[in-house]
């Protein structure tokens, strides 16, 4: 059994001459909950679609459960649960018919779990999919994905369009069921709070490039935001590398730096600041800093 459930090697995708993914390499180990972040159009959905073999890559390779995505066998597909962005279920089918179709085509079907989820979500079986609300469709999609007892669950912005309560319920259920069974989740979202709550590893896609790929703790410890008060006017240049963002006003400077270390600390101290305090950063702050144009690339785990 491969250690990495998902692997990508130098994945490149062009669409109508536009670069959507630019050399993305990624490995998601078994049992990991991987939060994939990125702004709209950053390439998250394309990456997931390539992973599932729904879209051919321009260059590079992707592997799911040890198999090339473009040649995924039906057996491997049966081990992957997928909740698509916008919950693209067959709209004109009634819930009952869609469930029967999925049950019939699946390699394994956990009727007990599925029944429990349908009851919990109070999903009507005799209504057409198109008549369901966005929240109900999301819940049905999740229930269908979970009923096959997937080894890998891929959730592509699953909470998009859901209200707060439905979102919370959806996430808790996804985490509860999958974590209890030691499954792997790839979770794409731009709702940072959701990702922060459940992910143990984070990837940030910016304009098709994976600029961050590390654990949440590493990410938080690696990026520092400092509020520095200088004795006189803040200097124009601190001669520090990997500055993500810098804002100066009078004696005060707010500096965001990647890979903060004693060397950088020493360089800063040559300017004899009166005061230097670290400002706490949430994942949202880090995300905003990382996705600003011309962001310094945060080195990945192997480079640390």
């Amino acid at each position: 059994m491969p250690d990495n459930v998902i692997e990508m090697e130098n994945l490149v995708k062009y669409y109508d001459g536009r670069c959507i993914l630019d050399g993305v390499s990624l490995a998601v180990p078994r049992g990991c909950i991987y939060g994939l972040l990125g702004r709209n159009g950053s390439g998250k959905t394309t990456m997931i679609r390539i992973l599932l073999g729904l879209e051919p890559p321009t260059r590079g390779h992707t592997f799911v459960l040890g198999e090339d995505s473009m040649r995924l066998s039906a057996k491997t597909h049966g081990r992957v649960g997928y909740v698509a962005e916008g919950h693209q279920l067959i709209q004109r089918y009634k819930v009952r018919r869609l469930v029967d179709l999925c049950r019939g085509l699946s390699l394994q079907w956990n009727e007990e779990l599925f029944g429990h989820l349908m009851e919990m979500f109070r999903l009507p079986r005799d209504r057409r999919i198109k008549e369901l609300s966005a929240g109900m469709r999301a819940q049905l999609n999740l229930a269908l994905a979970m009923a096959i007892d997937p080894e890998l669950l891929i959730l592509d912005d699953p909470t998009l369009g859901l209200d707060t309560v439905a979102r919370r319920q959806f996430l808790e259920l996804a985490i509860d069921v999958i974590q209890r069974q030691g499954r792997t989740i790839l979770f794409s979202s731009h709702i940072l709070g959701d990702v922060e709550r459940i992910a143990d590893r984070i990837g940030i896609l910016v304009a098709g490039r994976l600029v961050v790929d590390c654990t949440l703790e590493q990410l938080k410890s690696r990026i520092k935001r400092l509020r520095i008060i200088f004795p006189t006017q803040a200097p124009d240049d601190l001669y520090l590398t990997e500055v993500v963002n810098r804002q100066a006003q009078g004696r005060e400077m707010v500096l965001t730096v990647a890979n903060w270390n004693p060397q950088k600390q020493a360089i800063l101290e040559t300017f004899h600041p009166d005061n230097c305090t670290e400002l706490p950063m949430t994942l949202e702050d880090i995300f905003i800093e990382c996705t600003r144009p011309a962001t310094a690339v945060v080195p990945q785990e192997s480079e640390v």
Binding site: R49, L54, E55, H77
Partner: protein, 213 residues
């Protein structure tokens, strides 16, 4: 096999209208053939049947073209294959089940009609070997012509260049039945149509298997 049957069942249920139409048109054709056999002389019956064969085949071809287009267009616009391939189903299985459903639709139309024609020939036409031998050739010719039109429909339905492909495909659908006139019924026609069907199904499969879902 179980999955293949489920997928075929899904195709039939989703396009039930075409199957009902195939049965109704077949019943109508049997009715017409029977009334011809009862109303006209043996010679006139054969002449009228043969004379009407080309326009009828063109109309049938258009019908099966619409069936093929409908199957693929519905898939493309409703993201059916995208949903199905997220389940343990390959694109090959989806495509095969689709074509199998199309062939079933064709047989649903042609088999009762052929049986009725055979019975009427037996009852009303003298036992001339020429007439007896005509029926298998007729069946093969019409079946393959309709299958060719259906295959063109599959190709057109999956194409996003709608206008260009539709015009070209419709032109082919009208031209293919004319092969019956040009080549006549027989082995040569069967070979040409088989090659045409193979080529158009291969082209459709290539597009279907290599495009984004």
């Amino acid at each position: 096999m179980r999955r293949f049957l489920i997928l075929t069942g899904r195709e039939i249920r989703d396009h039930a209208g075409y199957f009902v139409a195939a049965v109704l048109v077949s019943a109508l054709a049997i009715g017409l053939l029977t009334s011809l056999a009862l109303e006209y002389s043996q010679k006139a019956m054969v002449q009228i049947s043969v004379a009407g064969l080309i326009p009828e085949t063109i109309m049938l071809g258009l019908g099966f073209y619409a069936f093929g287009t409908g199957q693929m267009y519905a898939d493309r616009t409703r993201n059916l294959s995208a949903f199905l391939t997220a389940l343990p189903v390959g694109r090959g299985q989806i495509f095969l089940a689709r074509v199998f459903a199309g062939v079933l639709g064709l047989l649903l139309f042609l088999v009762p009609l052929t049986i009725a024609a055979a019975v009427l020939l037996e009852l009303r036409v003298p036992p001339v070997p020429l007439y007896r031998g005509l029926l298998p050739d007729l069946f093969a010719g019409v079946f393959l012509t309709c299958l060719a039109c259906y295959s063109i429909g599959l190709y057109a339905g999956w194409s996003s260049r709608a206008v260009l492909v539709t015009v070209g495909a419709l032109l082919l659908v009208v031209l293919v039945p004319l092969l019956l006139v040009i080549k006549g019924f027989g082995a040569e026609l069967v070979v040409i149509l088989l090659l045409f069907v193979t080529a158009s199904l291969t082209a459709t499969w290539y597009r279907f298997s290599s495009s984004s879902l």
